[in-house]
């Protein structure tokens, strides 16, 4: 009996100890290291479920170690068959032939190299214990950020590769097309587009994934230039992907336009291929579009031309939608809110900057006047002459020229300088609102904004920020005409007068981050009543 009791007690003690250890281990907060060169080796998962945790591999650590011992990339990466200079991105192999083979390659080559190095009394990676590489939690956090190849970088690459004599860039260094018949890459002049039009997220037949394409393309070229002792871009992971290093990438302030024979101005029609069958959309006036200006607003063509540089409506965003365009029809493609790729979506997102949001986040948010359509879909200039009969480009130019990009308002004398708000003067003195000053400030804030200029050209439009739901006139109705007692059951969505004033003033001041008056400082606006 005594023995069994002892056993029982022993089991209990061991159990508690193990649990305590587990909890202790969980409670400790390690400071995790951030690295931009984390590569997870989990190739085997394409064959079978993984038997051990995947390996977290620090690429830069290995590159640096090799550099020190005067070894190069070829220590680990083999040359591709197609070209000697092009290295395979895989480790010590060109293809993933089979589970056992790939595993053997990793084990033999990694451990072999580590052994070799440790034999010469240098620090080396793990040699024996599986768990040292196959760790569940390596205690590292990836700080790897995708790098944007923006206009500035594009320009610097063109400049760097200019022929000294002709002073012309060699676009074919990077841009190429694929010849299906000859199974070869070739350069097609003025057909250049974003890499992403062809190189997708995953590798497809005859098409590398974007990840592979950029790593082999960029690094090979940088490496070659570096070997020739030329100034060149990064080779290591951190050079492109480390957040701090990205900040250090040189930026060209004024980037010249990328020349690819793209138009300066376009007249965007819904009915280019007029079929008569469906004239529903063709009723809208075409939109004169300043392509050149928009190039300047965006960093890459991808901002709008997200899938190709072809016409949006031809195959994908047809007027009624098509499978290729995920059934996003032309109307949506141009007007979908919240989507940066559409015209309206991008303009709307622009409204979120404080100078716009001051008004647009309260009364004007998500509000569109019926007259707004015609600001883009302009009326043809010449009466009785359909747009199509004129030269499109000329007409677009004329239309654009006729457009005024200036926010208008009434003459100073029509705008009261001060407004006294007396409605709520119970506890405090009436509020003196610097009415004209507020309008001037709002106008001043959007003075340089062309987009705002087009939409606020009409006099009285800016007044709508506060005098919402009222006619465009110098004599808007009083606030109290609509807003009176709060919580009126017949108008449940309408705030009372006190709420209406405060919500409007406070929201605007919050958005514009005005330090004074503070939203909680009652006497900043309301003077204490004299007793």
């Amino acid at each position: 009996m005594k023995k069994s009791m002892l056993q029982w007690a022993g089991i209990l003690v061991v159990f508690i100890l193990v649990l305590t250890l587990c909890i202790e281990a969980k409670d400790t907060n390690e400071i995790l290291e951030h690295r931009s060169d984390l590569i997870t080796i989990d190739t085997l998962k394409s064959f079978d479920a993984l038997e051990r945790p995947k390996v977290v591999f620090l690429h830069d650590l290995h590159t640096e170690a090799l550099e020190k011992s005067n070894k190069d990339c070829k220590t680990c990466h083999l040359s591709e068959k197609s070209s000697k200079d092009r290295l395979s991105l895989k480790f010590k192999r060109l293809k993933d032939t089979g589970k056992q083979e790939v595993m053997d390659i990793y084990h033999a080559e990694c451990i072999g190299c580590h052994k070799e190095i440790s034999a010469s009394d240098q620090d080396a990676g793990p040699v024996e214990v599986c768990g040292e590489c196959h760790k569940k939690d390596a205690g590292l956090i990836s700080s790897n950020l995708p790098v944007a190849f923006d206009k500035s970088l594009h320009f610097r690459h063109t400049e760097a590769n200019k022929d000294e004599k002709t002073n012309k860039g060699d676009c074919g260094l990077c841009h190429h097309e694929y010849d299906e018949k000859a199974k070869k890459l070739f350069y097609a002049k003025e057909k250049e587009g974003s890499c992403r039009y062809c190189h997708m997220k995953e590798t497809e037949e005859n098409r590398m994934s974007m990840r592979l394409a950029s790593h082999s393309g960029c690094i090979d070229c940088h490496k070659k230039a570096a070997d020739n002792k030329k100034k060149t871009g990064p080779i290591k992971c951190s050079g492109c992907h480390d957040p701090d290093m990205q900040q250090k990438i040189e930026k060209v302030k004024v980037v010249p336009r990328i020349e690819r024979k793209q138009p300066d101005i376009v007249l965007i029609h819904a009915n280019k291929q007029k079929t008569n069958k469906d004239d529903r959309i063709s009723r809208m006036n075409p939109v004169p579009f300043d392509h050149k200006a928009h190039e300047g607003y965006n960093d890459t063509c991808l901002a709008c031309h997200h899938a190709s540089l072809d016409s949006c409506s031809k195959k994908c965003h047809t007027p009624t939608g098509s499978k290729e365009g995920k059934y996003v029809n032309l109307e949506s493609a141009m007007h979908q809110k919240g989507n940066k790729k559409s015209c309206l979506g991008c303009h709307e997102i622009n409204q979120r900057q404080p100078n716009c949001a001051a008004c647009h986040s309260l009364n004007a948010e998500n509000r569109m006047l019926e007259t707004s359509c015609q600001i883009c879909h302009m009326k043809p200039l010449l009466k009785n002459s359909p747009a199509t009969t004129m030269d499109e480009k000329l007409m677009a130019e004329m239309l654009l020229k006729s457009k005024k990009a200036a926010s208008g308002t009434y003459k100073d004398e029509d705008i009261p300088e001060k407004v006294i708000i007396k409605e709520l003067a119970e506890e405090y003195e009436p509020v003196e609102l610097p009415h004209r000053k507020i309008i001037k400030t709002l106008l001043n804030n959007i003075k340089d904004n062309t987009l705002a200029g087009y939409f606020h050209a009409e006099k009285g439009m800016v007044c709508q920020s506060c005098h919402h739901n009222s006619p465009l006139d110098t004599k808007p109705p009083r606030c109290g005409s609509c807003h009176s007692k709060p919580f009126d059951g017949r108008n449940i969505f309408r705030p009372g007068i006190k709420g209406a004033y405060h919500q409007q003033c406070i929201r605007c001041h919050q958005v514009l981050k005005l330090e004074k008056p503070k939203s909680t400082g009652c006497t900043d606006c309301h003077k204490d009543k004299k007793k």
């Binding site: 986040s361 948010e365 998500n366 709060p486 919580f487 059951g489 449940i492 969505f493 705030p495 009372g496 006190k498 709420g499 209406a500 405060h502 919500q503 406070i506 919050q510 958005v511 939203s519 909680t520 009652c522």
Partner: protein, 351 residues
């Protein structure tokens, strides 16, 4: 209790009685108390709250509460995590949120006035009442002071006057019930400058909240806190960040508190009804066992006794027979002797 009944009715329906009981089954299955019709409530919009503490001051004034330690215009207390207590029926706390424009965020804490209040269902003297106006009010004249309501409240709202000897009371927000029935607004709502508090019929408040979410999808989290939490509350909340970040519990579920204990309470009549039968039965069984054992014992004793008697009797008779024999033999011998003697005497006399 409602669950079991629902199930029971469900089974009846499944058993083919659905045609006969069709509509009542349906009605019972969908029975869920959604609050008194046209009951009132308040919608708190954290995106409109500016943290001015006017509501705290208003509440203090209309409820005649003692003055606070720090004046209401001292906004530094906001960043402390305060709770309601016997001297404060409502507090506004500041919750830091890292995402630019939505920072800082405030939340007002007070009684949520549940549609089916936990406190009312927990009170064993019915000191709490859910009024048809929507507020949950407390009657100190019957309160015993057991504080089970404080255990039951998922929002940790009721507070207790621990320092009072003879008249300790539960203290909590009443949604200004006395003012509301006079047609006035609750103190906090009336004073709020920014209409961050909207007072009205609960069903309208839900419409207003939905409208705000629809109009400003980027600004609000698509959830009205209190619409279904703990079966629904009269006080509703809108927020720009997950409610958890405003210190509100998102794990309360939608079951009204009374339902949590209803199942257990429903077993009371069953126990009271069945236990006597069961226990008397057990007693009878054990009694009967005893009885049978006794009878068997008696029988055993009787039979052994009988046996013993019989044996004794046979022994006796044997002994008697033997004795008789011996007696007979002795008599014979005696007779013989006597005869012989007589003969002898005759012979003597004859000679």
């Amino acid at each position: 209790m409602s669950i079991s009944r629902r199930k029971f009715l469900g089974w009846m329906g499944a058993a083919g009685l659905s045609t006969a009981f069709g509509s009542p089954v349906h009605a019972a299955a969908n029975k869920h108390f959604k609050g008194y019709p046209d009951s009132l409530g308040v919608l708190f919009d954290s995106m409109l709250c500016i943290g001015c503490r006017n509501c705290e001051a208003g509440c203090n004034k209309v409820n005649g509460l003692p003055p606070p330690d720090l004046p209401f215009d001292d906004l530094t207390v906001l960043s402390k995590k305060r709770r309601v207590n016997t001297r404060t029926f409502t507090v506004v706390n500041l919750y830091d949120h890292s995402e630019g424009i939505k920072n800082p965020l405030f939340r007002k804490i007070q009684c949520n006035h549940c549609l089916e209040p936990a406190c009312a269902s927990a009170c064993f003297v019915r000191a709490f009442t859910k009024t048809k106006e929507g507020s949950v009010v407390y009657d100190p004249s019957v309160c015993v002071g057991c504080r089970y309501c404080m255990i039951a409240c998922p929002f940790e709202i009721p507070t207790y006057e621990y320092d009072k000897v003879l008249t300790p009371r539960i203290r909590k927000c009443t949604m200004c019930h006395p003012r509301v029935i006079e047609g006035k607004l609750p103190g906090c709502v009336e004073i709020c400058p920014n209409e961050a508090l909207t007072f009205g019929k609960r069903k309208d408040l839900i419409k207003i909240a939905r409208d705000r979410i629809r109009k400003y999808p980027d600004r609000y989290v698509d959830h009205i806190y209190g619409e279904n939490e703990m079966g629904g509350t009269s006080w509703l909340y809108l927020s720009g960040v997950p409610f958890k970040e405003l210190g509100m519990r998102e794990d309360l579920g939608v079951t009204p508190a009374p339902e949590l204990t209803a199942g257990s309470l429903s077993t009371v009549p069953m126990v009271a009804g069945l236990w006597p039968v069961l226990l008397t039965g057990l007693y009878a069984v054990s009694k009967r066992k005893e009885k049978i054992a006794k009878i068997e014992q008696h029988q055993a004793i009787a039979s052994t006794l009988e046996k013993a008697n019989a044996e004794a009797e046979s022994k006796l008779s044997k002994a008697l027979a033997k004795a008789q024999k011996e007696k007979d033999a002795a008599i014979k011998i005696e007779i013989k002797k006597a005869l012989e003697e007589a003969k002898k005497t005759q012979e003597k006399e004859g000679s």
